[in-house]
Symmetry: C2
Subunit: 350 residues, 2 copies
DNA sequence: CTTGGCACTCAGCCAGACGGAGTGCCAATC
DNA sequence: GATTGGCACTCCGTCTGGCTGAGTGCCAAG
């Protein structure tokens, strides 16, 4: 809003800003001119640094908590840092090993277990909160559909998707169906739907219903009816979170009220899902710093996200949530690699 | 350990203890003699009260945080209070209505949804944390078993139990089975197992395997093999928790480290499950006060539990977790009634 | 442009003082 | 013998003022 110039910062200013943020991320306390003079490698006196800091503050990259403290990055400062000052560290081999072991090919692992593992690993390695959204079925191909008779007017529908996803739904039906009727219905629907994504299936259902008139027997019509009920249920997005309590250790979040609001948002899920959905759209890793997320509860947090793929399709997002003062250089590659590993762990089972 | 006498407290002492604890539960601050003199209705001077308090302290029902504060109940004091001093309040009708609405008969609700609702209601009404264990399949009768062919060497097993419980498992198999083979296998197993509890099913499997020799064809043998794999998987107990963050508002828990330990215990689940398991054994409502639970993280908490039933069988537990200073008179009936409502909500769908 | 010097600001910490709440004990009273 | 008023004492919480250290902004000299 009050942006005045594109601010192509001079190299000098960039170095100073970078050392300041580096230091602040490491130590968590406002950084003064003397410190920067020592650590920047610039061979300038504190006084000169002070001048530069004053400029940076005027341009909105820094601020001081009070008159005689050092300086602290603003959201704007972090943004610049992340976008162009950051030197992404390669992942430490110990942590890489940890990740790979966590995803070691285990054919018996359920989808849920794999997802849980992913978020636990994220939070464990970063010591912050790890989030993984469940894969959106919308994007997954259907492997199998089956109807089973329960008592009288209840039918159990079983949907099997790519990527370890199995889904059950109990339906009420008008008249009882026998096992063999349901068997036929399942067979019929399988020939129609297998391999398609949910949206395609829906389209196919509409098609079938249109063509229904002449060439279909009553059973097939019933089958399509059932299918239309099953696939009509809108998918509810959801996610798994781990390591919430890690966030309690950061002093910048330790205000009880804020923390509580944050935790509540985690369980309410709605706002969180909105945010993660944005990350789903984008291509690669994405970072939301402080207020950028647009959600009050996240004002003091940053969110580092990366989408993951099954069968080449983006089906979900993982994220690390922590204080704005987080070690972005470290977190970014962690999220990135975990996304890849998770993707292939889910693929593997098709 | 250092119990000296059965301590049949005099009526006088009981009244004083009760008013003190009542007051402390309401206000959360150490209670002094003057307050009790005013509130007990005993028409005694503070000085007399002081004498009585001194006795109660010596007998271990009270303690003072420091020399010139009022007094506070010990675990022992709460115990006595809960066991014999407590006047259980009937549930306010507003809250009763809330509960009943929450469980309004909804045939389409899944087991998971019903359980979630229960724990949310518990936490919502008590403003503390609500916990509900998932129903133990061990106790539930099997309604249906089915095998479905997936690709090549994978078979999907679907188990349907009483009480909305559906369970999927993907199995590896030695040789591919055709759909009709699996159909036959399912039929066969259904005739053997339906209506039985898991343990009975396991027994039946062992039986079948013994009788296998002569009168069974290869397919049936395979069927039993499959079943033995499916039912061999030990059930992992689990629970759902809601309103964790409510606990952050209690000053007695607000020490960050403790709170964090507590939250971690909630997600680690192991110790919690142990405790809840004890409650499963007992008959009715059960209360663990402070250290009575035997788990360090719960030292400053009390847990009020009640088991719930499906088909007359106890299959799970619900609990409210809060600070030792909680309104037991209010919480006990809430947990109790919720248990009943949850039980019938789950029953209803068989 | 850079630098040393300087006055100034401000948070954090310590020490001391004070008031309030509540106690334990004792001697007087019913 | 239980009950009570009186009293000295303890201890917490809060407020105060003073001090220190860190860091600043500005200015004038290099």
């Amino acid at each position: 809003m009050s942006t005045t110039t594109p601010h192509a910062l001079g190299e000098r200013a960039q170095i100073i800003l970078k050392t300041l943020i580096d230091r602040f991320i490491r130590e968590g306390e406002p950084v003064g001119s003397r410190t920067i003079a020592r650590e920047s490698g610039l061979d300038l006196s504190p006084a000169s640094i002070r001048n530069a800091l004053l400029d940076l503050e005027e341009q909105g990259f820094l601020q001081s908590p009070h008159a005689s403290a050092g300086r602290v990055p603003t959201v704007r400062g972090y943004r610049l840092f992340v976008d162009s000052l950051l030197t992404v560290q390669p992942l430490e081999s110990a942590q890489l090993a940890l990740l790979e072991q966590g995803f070691v090919a285990d054919e018996t692992a359920t989808r849920q277990q794999v997802i849980d593992t992913a978020s636990r690993l994220l939070s464990g390695i970063t010591r912050m909160a790890g989030v993984v959204t469940l894969p959106r079925r919308e994007q997954l191909g259907l492997r199998h559909i089956e109807f089973l008779p329960l008592s009288g007017h209840q039918v159990l529908a079983v949907l099997v998707f790519e990527g370890q996803e199995v889904q059950n739904r109990i339906l009420k039906v008008e008249r009882p169906f026998s096992a063999s009727e349901l068997q036929q219905a399942s067979n019929y629907l399988n020939t129609l739907f297998v391999g398609k994504g949910i949206q395609q299936v829906r389209d196919a259902i509409v098609d079938e219903m249109r063509r229904t008139r002449a060439d279909m027997d009553e059973l097939m019509r019933a089958a399509v009816e059932l299918a239309s009920v099953v696939f009509d249920v809108p998918e509810e997005a959801d996610y798994v979170i781990a390591g919430q309590s890690n966030l309690m250790d950061f002093k910048e979040l330790s205000h009880v009220e804020k923390l509580r609001a944050l935790f509540d948002a985690f369980t309410a899920k709605r706002e969180m899902l909105h945010l993660l959905d944005q990350a789903l759209q984008g291509e690669g890793a994405q970072i939301f710093i402080g207020e950028e997320s647009g959600y009050r509860v996240l004002d003091d947090c940053s969110v580092v996200t990366a989408p993951y793929r099954v069968n080449g399709q983006v089906v979900g997002v993982l994220a690390v949530i922590g204080p704005t003062r987080m070690a972005y250089q470290r977190v970014i590659p962690i999220v990135d690699i975990t996304a890849r590993l998770l993707g292939s762990a889910l693929n593997l089972s098709n």
